[in-house]
């Protein structure tokens, strides 16, 4: 079996807020193979986002081993984490987080620019992604001129523009209505199935979690259970 793209061993994370120290993660173990679509569920404050932030190189682990795309995050510094964000992971957030002054196209171009890629023309395979996301015609609009669903699809496009090995989506449907949520979930499934995109998705919604290949359940900073979606087959064939 090839090395997992994400390997987490006995990961602890403590946040210092004032004089009290909050243990956000207390010994997380997780392997994610390349090409997997993983859901993470759990009550508020259970450490889901914290796990993402460490795996995505936004903050260093306090202790334990975290290897992402061959990079040992316990050993790298700030610039190593920046490099990881630049090359290996793409973030999608609940609040879309598009740059408000820029059009969808310029948001995407900014991501390309930061990762050191050409920004004047989009590559063929990225155009396919735009078509799949259904936003090819909305590229010259600013976030304020788009619906939440459209904004989130642009955010996904921006996250994928640089071909990251891993897409980290923290409650991507949390701010969307049912119809848009469904569309985004189906898109993530499509991206995973058609392009083999590795996706980790945090969700509060049990039905949303079912779109993944595997669901991990977190509580009080640890993974308490791993399950396979019940109706996995009913959603379509998993190749």
């Amino acid at each position: 079996m090839p090395d997992p793209i994400i390997k987490v061993r006995d990961l602890w994370k403590a946040y210092q807020s004032g004089r009290v120290s909050v243990q956000a993660l207390r010994g997380v173990n997780l392997d994610v193979p390349l090409g997997e679509f993983l859901s993470i569920v759990g009550p508020s404050g259970s450490g889901k986002s914290t796990l993402f932030h460490i795996v995505g190189g936004m903050t260093p682990p306090t202790s334990g081993e975290v290897i992402v795309g061959g990079r040992n995050l316990s050993a790298v510094g700030d610039s190593g984490r920046t490099e990881l964000r630049r090359t290996t992971v793409g973030f999608v957030f609940q609040k879309f987080n598009l740059l408000p002054n820029l059009t969808a196209r310029d948001n995407i171009r900014t991501a390309l620019h930061i990762s050191g890629q050409a920004t004047d023309v989009f590559e063929k395979d990225f155009l396919d992604i735009l078509a799949l996301l259904g936003i090819a015609g909305r590229l010259d609009h600013k976030p304020s001129e788009m619906s939440g669903g459209e904004q989130q699809r642009v955010a996904i496009a921006r996250a994928l523009a640089t071909h990251p090995a891993i897409l980290l989506a923290d409650e991507p449907t949390g701010n969307l209505d049912t119809a848009n949520s469904l569309a985004v979930l189906k898109l993530l499934r499509d991206l995973n199935e058609r392009l083999g995109q590795t996706i980790l998705m945090i969700t509060h919604n049990n039905e949303a979690a079912q779109y993944a290949d595997r669901i991990v359940h977190m509580r009080d900073g640890v993974i308490v259970e791993t399950s396979t979606p019940a109706g996995r087959q009913a959603l379509g064939p998993v190749v």
Binding site: S79, R85, R86, F91, N97, N101, D106, T119
Partner: protein
């Protein structure tokens, strides 16, 4: 792409951008107006001294180029100087500053006319009574008088006998004898102009005169022209340095404040950029590029405003304040503004760079 990000940021805060640019423009305008005024004034005095038609200027011992010691020379010296080799004409004038950059020059109209080629009268005629003055067209415009009108100078009313074309020694002239009377300098003059048989002899004559009249202030007019510069007036140089310093401080403070606010307002956007893998140097260059834009905009607006200042000065006092546009100072004033702007952006830039990406993203 950096340009795009910066441009959109600048464009989306038009009030902040405009205010910053305007504030940076103020010292730029100040610098350029001051330099313009100094150069304009010096250029004007150069032209006017050339307009006298003399080859040598002769002043009392210790006399300097840019100052006048009223009535420091006995008028008899004029006749003595006339007897010097190569000297074909000599005429003494009595100078009395009247505030601002202006002065009244007591002249012997016939002698002065002979040396300078005579006044060109726009209105009126030469002196006829001791109360007559001649003024040039600039001064007439500034004081809004015509030939035949009255003008108050040195606490007495003068009759404007004529209005002459500018460019000869000064803006205002009175009969030498009247000036000597008023100033209590009977038989005295401030300076003597000498005209030679050939201007080429000026240096030799100056050298000869310096031997005979040691300690007197003696310059050839061409030497004097070269000496009339910003560097020859130490106070002016200091003043310009002070204004440059003020420019640096204003530019620094304005951009510091403006960019500090911008970084606070854009905390979340900085977090977004960081989540995409933006490096410290990328974030820093964004802030710097924006500061550069503010500094550059301030420079352009400052230059434009210096033209406005020039027009305003000209409208208020056409004779006293001839402001030149000195192109060579544009890069200096701009460099000061932009250097200060970039310096001012350093701290806000560090603030942005140090931002924790998670906290920045949590920012509302």
């Amino acid at each position: 792409m950096i340009f795009r990000l910066v441009f959109e940021n600048v464009r989306h805060r038009p009030i902040r951008t405009m205010l910053s640019v305007l504030l940076i423009a103020v010292p730029v305008t100040l610098i350029l107006a001051l330099i313009g005024l100094s150069n304009g004034f010096l250029e004007d005095s150069r032209k006017r001294s050339a307009g006298v038609g003399a080859d040598i200027l002769f002043k009392a011992p210790g006399g300097s180029l840019m100052t006048f010691s009223t009535g420091a020379l006995p008028q008899k010296i004029v006749d003595l100087l006339k007897t010097e080799p190569h000297v074909v004409q000599a005429t003494g004038t009595l100078v009395q500053p009247i505030g601002g950059f202006d002065s009244i020059n007591g002249i012997d109209l016939a002698e002065f006319g002979k040396m300078s080629g005579g006044f060109t009268y726009a209105e009126g005629h030469g002196f006829q009574t001791p109360d007559d003055v001649l003024i040039d067209t600039w001064y007439a415009q500034q004081r809004k008088v015509h030939a035949g009108g009255k003008i108050n100078l040195l606490n007495r009313d003068w009759h404007v006998a004529g209005i002459v074309e500018p460019g000869k020694l000064a803006h205002l002239f009175a009969p030498l004898a009247s000036m000597q009377d008023i100033l209590g300098s009977t038989g005295k003059v401030s300076q003597v102009f000498l005209k030679l048989d050939d201007p080429k002899n000026a240096d030799a004559v100056v050298a000869a005169l310096k031997v005979k009249y040691a300690d007197y202030g003696i310059w050839s007019i061409s030497e004097m022209q070269a000496l009339i510069s910003v560097d020859s007036i130490p106070l002016l140089k200091n003043f310009i340095n002070v204004i440059l310093g003020i420019g640096v401080i204003i530019g620094f403070a304005v951009v510091s404040l403006s960019m500090y606010m911008a970084v606070l307002q854009r905390t979340r956007e900085i977090g977004i950029l960081k989540s995409m893998g933006a490096t410290k140097s990328f974030i820093m260059s964004l802030i710097m590029a924006e500061a550069f834009c503010l500094g550059f905009g301030g420079t352009i607006v400052g230059i434009l405003m210096s033209y406005v200042a020039k027009a305003a000065m000209h409208a208020v006092a056409p004779a006293s304040l001839p402001q030149a546009i000195v192109y060579t100072w544009w890069p200096i004033a701009g460099g000061v503004a932009m250097g200060a702007a970039l310096l001012g952006a350093v701290y806000p830039g560090m603030m942005a760079v140090r931002q924790d990406p998670i906290e920045a993203l949590a920012h509302e």
